[in-house]
Amino acid sequence: MARKVSQNRKALVTVAAWAVGIAIFFPILWTVILSFKSEGDAIKTPFEVLSANWTLESYSTVQERSNYLRHFWNSVVLSVGSTLLGLLIAVPAAWAMAFVPGKRTKDVLMWMLSTKMLPPVGVLVPLYLIFRDFGLLDTRIGLVIVLTLINLPIIVWMLYTYFREIPGEILEAARMDGATLRAEILYVLTPMAVPGIASTLLLNIILAWNEAFWTLNLTAAKAAPLTAFIASYSSPEGLFYAKLSAASTMAIAPILIMGWFSQKQLVRGLTFGAVK
């Protein structure tokens, strides 16, 4: 039901909403603008910045000086790898909990969630030592494992809430039609759950991409993803605003785009289905 609203009021709300929206978005916008300026211009007053020449030099410098692409690739491998691995483990688990619920299913779900609430710093020391002793420090495989484990509860939960919306009769029909469990999951459940699986995938790539505790503490140079690479800008030498902006823009652009696509599913994923 659309309520009748006077055009004046609508205009007023439009101005206010856009003002707030742009204000909140402004730091990102400003970063993008600075990334297209020269270092000399980037630290000038806002008016001078805006009128200065546009250039791509920061982008090429960032790549040349610090092998930006390697860190970008690390981020891709870590986020996509950990998410896919997580899905592989979580799809069967979510199938079991959604379609063959037992007396303890709810407890298992809650327990899984509780592992997510363990403060990472509480297990920093042992994990660091384990990584050191197994030669996993600063390796992509080590981080993929950790990121998979910290996001696994969220993946299971999200899939579980999506699977529960699929009527069990359809899976039973598949069973009556002679489908094995593998066929049932592969040909019936998975295709039906594609939207849910896609948004789970998207949200978890975002979370893994932005994870900034383990990636900072368990990597040095080789396996460092963008979070850690950008952190190296915290002790700058000389002029670096434009380069920092260029590196940041490239680091957040892909995830920003994915985030906008998944915004509808985001709420549900982030609140474990408590708000839809």
Binding site: I170, E172, A173, M176, D177, G178, M192
Partner: protein
């Protein structure tokens, strides 16, 4: 072949026994209907036969082979679900072909069988549509198509018509009966609608609280119900029951008389009563007559009879059709 034998089959969910030990034999080629009020365990029984639920104890045999521990996929039975349970992401063709694909059948043979089934069920022009684009009746036909292509030992129907509107339901009823005549395959059909049971079944199994109340052909159940429950459940409108002094005259705790077995007259009869609401169906008229000391008796008369609210009438049950029941509700013969 499709002879299904249940031997002391019992089902309990935890402490709750939903089906006490039960024996039943379904012969090859029979059309058997499980009927009963909701919650009577008829669907559970069907799911036990399908293998979608484990039986707690007892044995299920399909064609003399013990199928108790055989998973549903390997029992060779096909099922049509209440919600149809079509695969929404597959075309009609793929839906129907799915069981054959699962059986690893040769693609050309699959095509042949799907096209055959589609022409039998008038689905040929819809083969490339998704289930979401079909009407309820068409979906129902796809579900049946998916069941028949694999030539199962028996078909299981779980209230398949309950999601259709009344007119369509009558049509599909005829189609399923027709299908049974053609295929001559065992069919087990679950419904809460006694009209479906009466019109379709070779054999009706009346269930109540997990127990079998009576097994028999539709007319057997109609003519000689074993107890008050069956008497009341089979037949429409329901049988009238009378207890107390009037029943005692017949040496029974209660007597039952169907609306169609009561004569109504303006002049004379056994019970005098006053007409309440009359339902005029055109062909028939059902009048609810209040009789002092007996209660309300529903009477069927031909549509021509003109009765009005408040009229005084006389009722006479035809003696041969009076059913007598003892204290436990069992029929006295």
């Amino acid at each position: 072949m499709g002879r299904i034998t249940l031997d002391k089959v019992r089902k309990a969910f935890g402490e709750v026994e939903v089906i006490p030990p039960l024996d039943l034999t379904i012969d090859d080629g029979e059309f058997v209907v499980f009927v009963g009020p909701s919650g009577c365990g008829k669907s559970t029984l069907l799911r036990l036969i399908a293998g979608l639920e484990d039986i707690t104890s007892g044995q299920i045999r399909i064609d003399r082979e013990d199928a108790t521990d055989v998973p549903p996929a390997k029992r060779g039975l096909a099922m049509v679900f209440q919600s149809y349970a079509l695969y929404p992401h597959m075309s009609v063709r793929k839906n129907i072909a799915f069981p054959l694909k699962m059986a690893g059948m040769d693609p050309t043979e699959i095509d042949k069988r799907v096209n055959e089934a589609a022409s039998v069920l008038n689905l040929a022009q819809y083969l490339d549509r998704r289930p979401g684009q079909l009407s309820g009746g068409q979906r129902q036909r796809v579900a049946i198509g998916r069941a028949i292509v694999r030539e199962p030992k028996a078909f299981l129907f779980d209230e398949p018509l309950s999601n259709l509107d009344a007119a369509l339901r009558v049509n599909m009823r005829l189609e399923i009966s027709e299908l049974h005549q053609t295929l001559k395959t065992t069919m087990i059909y679950v419904t809460h609608d006694q009209v479906e049971a009466m019109t379709m079944a070779d054999k009706i199994v009346v269930l109540h609280a997990g127990r079998i109340e009576q097994v028999g052909s539709p007319l057997e159940l109609y003519r000689t119900p074993r107890n008050r429950f069956v008497a009341g459940f089979i037949g429409s409108p329901k049988m009238n029951f009378v207890e107390g002094a009037e029943a005692a005259k017949y040496d029974a705790h209660s007597i039952g008389i169907r609306p169609e077995h009561v004569d109504m007259s303006r002049e004379s009869g056994v019970w005098q009563g006053r007409v309440g609401v009359s339902e005029h169906l055109g062909s028939d008229t059902f009048s609810h007559v209040h009789v002092d000391g007996i209660g309300t008796i529903n009477v069927r008369t031909s549509g021509e009879v003109d009765v009005r609210h408040g009229d005084t009438v006389w009722l006479t049950p035809t003696a041969a059709n009076i059913h007598r029941f003892d204290k436990e509700g069992l029929a006295i013969r």
